[in-house]
């Protein structure tokens, strides 16, 4: 009898452990929680719910605003969330900060694979959005935008649109070009170039005076890919990048090859900082701020660094901006720039069946995407608006220069890594790094890229 009792007790013990281990972390539909702190909060909130007879919901919000450079953007996000929470009584947005690259390339893809993506998350348009939308992981926003009267308020939603459905909202726009050190330009007696020869002349003079002509930090392949992107857009034409997908353009086309040869030429002339392949992105702007480099090709988002006294130091007001001049024998309008609206927020498709969460998403969109926040983004964070903003007064002089270059551009082409498939992006990035390491012949490298491109096109 004793023995049976003992065995029964043990079975109960073991089963309780197993069942406890298998139990779900979220309870009574109060939202998905991931940490003890959050659980505690959820429990506290449940108590309130019982009192008020209303259910509290928690939405997870993944953002990538980490580090000094993104401080202003984080403040804007926190203000939008606070506003949304004040409007909806029983809603909490749980902010989770993850490094941009980790989120885009590791964490979000893994969550998407498992189907447990956050409710609201940092999302890139183009290839990323297409991939997730086709796997039904993203919430279609058409009806929400219609309801909120926002459908016509965005300048462009192409990168987040798949088969007519909008799956994400860009937080801002970007363009890419050369930032330059005004004091060194003055010292060298040069002005922002309008032709390729003038750019080469400045690079040569910079080198002769002991400066690094172009700042570079190429540990991440996407950094030198920015320069390459505009070289391709100018050399092979603004339509060439999209043409790689439908086969009208090839990586091995002579115009495409000459774009890569221009980069190789810069390497051979020692125009980039040596050892750049071992440097992290942040090092690039440091080369310009420290007065080591004269010019730096980067995105408009970087301008916020040059207006922050803590980051720019003595260089405040001493950084200028110009677009990349047309390249020799370039195809199409040579004033075209790489510009787009590719980074913003996406929403989980799992929200579609949850009316309360849907309401919270609508409020988040209302609080985040409005003229006031867009204007604040432009003034406080130097991010180009993604929505139509009537009043552009009070803009920083550097930002004004960037807007001027954009306004005078004869067209735009998209970011390569937002258009081409992931596997092509990898081999291309590696190829560009090889060129920087003077390790490969551009044509030979591009032949391999084209092979992968054709395979990827067939598969998709």
């Amino acid at each position: 009898m004793k023995k049976i009792l003992l065995i029964l007790m043990m079975v109960t013990f073991v089963s309780s452990i197993v069942l406890a281990g298998c139990s779900s972390s979220s309870e009574s539909g109060t939202g998905e929680t991931s940490t003890d702190g959050v659980k505690d909060k959820a429990i506290d909130e449940s108590a309130k719910v019982e009192e008020d007879n209303q259910e509290t919901i928690t939405l997870t919000l993944r953002h990538t605003q980490i580090g000094e450079g993104k401080q202003s953007r984080l403040v804007l996000l926190e203000d939008a969330v606070a506003d949304a929470e004040s409007k909806l009584e029983h809603v909490t947005y749980e902010l989770e900060a993850v490094d941009h690259e980790v989120n885009r390339f590791d964490k979000l893809p893994a969550e998407m694979a498992a189907g447990n993506q956050p409710d609201i998350f940092d999302l890139f348009g183009g290839a990323d959005t297409i991939r997730y939308a086709k796997a039904d992981r993203l919430l279609s926003l058409n009806s929400i935008l219609e309801e909120l009267g926002l459908i016509d308020q965005f300048i462009e939603l192409n990168e987040f649109t798949v088969d007519g459905e909008v799956y994400g909202l860009p937080i801002g726009g970007f363009t890419e070009g050369y930032f330059y050190s005004k004091p060194i330009f003055e010292e060298l007696g040069v002005k922002p170039p309008s032709t390729w020869d003038e750019l080469e002349d400045i690079a040569l003079k910079s080198k002769e005076s002991g400066y690094v002509p172009f700042a570079m930090a190429a540990q991440g392949a996407w950094v030198p890919m920015m320069t390459m992107n505009t070289l391709v857009g100018h050399s092979a034409g603004p339509d060439s990048i999209q043409g790689l997908l439908n086969g009208t353009h090839k990586w091995t086309d002579p115009e495409m090859v000459s774009a890569f040869e221009l980069l190789q030429d810069f390497v051979k002339k020692d125009y980039f900082k040596r050892g750049s392949l071992g440097l992290d992105y942040g090092e690039q702007r440091n080369q310009l701020i420290a007065g080591e480099a004269v010019m730096m090709f980067d995105g408009s988002w970087t301008s916020s660094v040059f207006t922050d006294p803590e980051q720019a130091g003595d260089m405040i007001g001493d950084i200028g901006y110009f677009g990349m001049p047309g390249v020799p024998n370039g195809v199409g309008d040579q004033t075209a720039v790489n510009a787009g609206f590719s980074n913003g927020y996406g929403f989980s498709s799992t929200i579609a069946d949850d009316d309360k969460k849907l309401e919270a998403v609508k409020q988040f969109i209302k609080s985040m995407y409005n003229e006031e926040m867009q204007k604040r983004g432009l003034i406080e964070d130097n991010v180009l608006p993604s929505m139509k903003v009537a009043d552009l007064s009070g803009v920083d002089p550097l930002m004004s220069e960037i807007i001027e270059v954009m306004n005078s551009a004869g067209g735009a082409f998209p970011a390569i890594d937002g258009v081409i498939q992931a596997e092509v992006n990898t081999i291309l990035g590696e190829g560009i790094q090889r060129i920087l390491g003077d390790d490969v012949d551009p044509l030979e490298m591009l032949e391999k890229v084209q092979q992968v491109q054709e395979k990827a096109n067939q598969e998709s």
Binding site: K3, L6, I7, M10, V11, V14, I17, V18, G21, F105, D106, P109, A110, M112, A113, R131, Y132, K134, A135, R137, Q219, R274, G275, S276, L277, G278, L279, A422, E423, T426, E430, G431, Q433, R434, G437, D439
Partner: protein, 292 residues
């Protein structure tokens, strides 16, 4: 009670939670890896069975073989360069009369630091402009070396860092074995006129052979699954020249969304490790063990 504890069902019941957890977190992922390794899977849409296509692709993929070669460099560096240094340091520390504990702690410290910390620390040492190494070499007129961004020096830089991290751990293992040798054996040798060199090569090293083999085995297994140090220091760069199998697997699976291919590489890492460690064990098992 005694009768109860003799009942095997009792033991099975006690073991059950652990076995279940082991199966859930160890067995299942391994089985899943084997399953997905034979599929074309992008991580989002349902996997499609494609036979041995992933393995065929791996065997013709020059980048994969470069990563295998880098794993072999890890093994060779551990066995040919690191191990003699470990034995030499262990012999030195075993001979010191004072501050033995200090030396032991000093060599052991790197192995308790996290790899991320070590990566950053050595990143500073290798920094081309202001790094300690280049500044030291500049005293002898050596020109600036771009340790982590030049493909000819990046791999050796990682190997040195990795060796620095783990040498202390193995030194402590071997030191324990040396200190376990009966003193009278060494004293007898001294009376017979053996020099330090003779004592080390004829007595100490043969007697600690079993622990040396364990260290070699651990080094090989560690080298085959090397990942963190490469990821922290170069992420496989410049342009993939320092990729090891594990970093290549991560890139293929998570950067290119080829989860099927990534799983196939994981299987190959498993098989290669099994074969190499198996061969090593087989080649060392027949050697005579010296008892004392």
């Amino acid at each position: 009670m005694n009768k109860t504890l003799k009942n095997p069902i009792v033991y099975i019941l006690f073991l059950l939670p652990t076995i279940l957890l082991y199966c859930l977190f160890m067995g299942m992922p391994v089985i899943q890896a084997f399953y997905y390794g034979f599929t074309d899977w992008d991580g989002l849409n349902p996997p499609i069975f494609n036979g041995i296509e992933n393995f065929r692709e791996a065997f013709t993929d020059s980048d994969f073989w470069l990563s295998v070669l880098n794993n072999i460099y890890f093994i060779l560096f551990s066995i040919v360069i690191q191990l003699p240094i470990i034995i030499f340091l262990s012999l030195l520390i075993s001979q010191v009369k004072r501050f033995k504990a200090f030396y032991k702690t000093a060599v052991f410290i790197p192995s308790i630091l996290s790899t991320a910390v070590i990566g950053i620390l050595w990143g500073f040492i290798y920094e081309p402009d202001s790094g300690l190494l280049n500044q030291f070499l500049a005293l002898f007129g050596v020109e600036k070396i771009y340790w982590l961004s030049d493909k000819s020096t990046a791999m050796i830089s990682i190997l040195i860092t990795n060796a620095w991290q783990w040498t202390g751990f193995y030194v402590v293992l071997i030191l324990a074995a040396i200190l376990g040798i009966p003193k009278d054996l060494l004293e007898q040798a001294e009376i017979d006129g053996a020099t330090n060199w003779n004592k080390s090569t004829r007595i100490i090293i043969p007697l600690i052979r079993p622990i040396i083999i364990v260290v070699m085995l651990l080094s090989i297994a560690g080298a085959m699954k090397a990942l963190d140090i490469v990821w922290v220091m170069t992420e496989g760069g410049p342009f993939g020249t320092t990729d090891v199998m594990a970093t290549y697997m991560i890139k293929e699976a998570f950067r290119e969304y080829q989860y099927g291919y990534g799983n196939a590489i994981a299987i190959l890492i498993f098989i290669f490790t099994l074969v190499i460690t198996g061969l090593f064990q087989w080649s060392t098992k027949n050697n005579e063990r010296i008892e004392y």
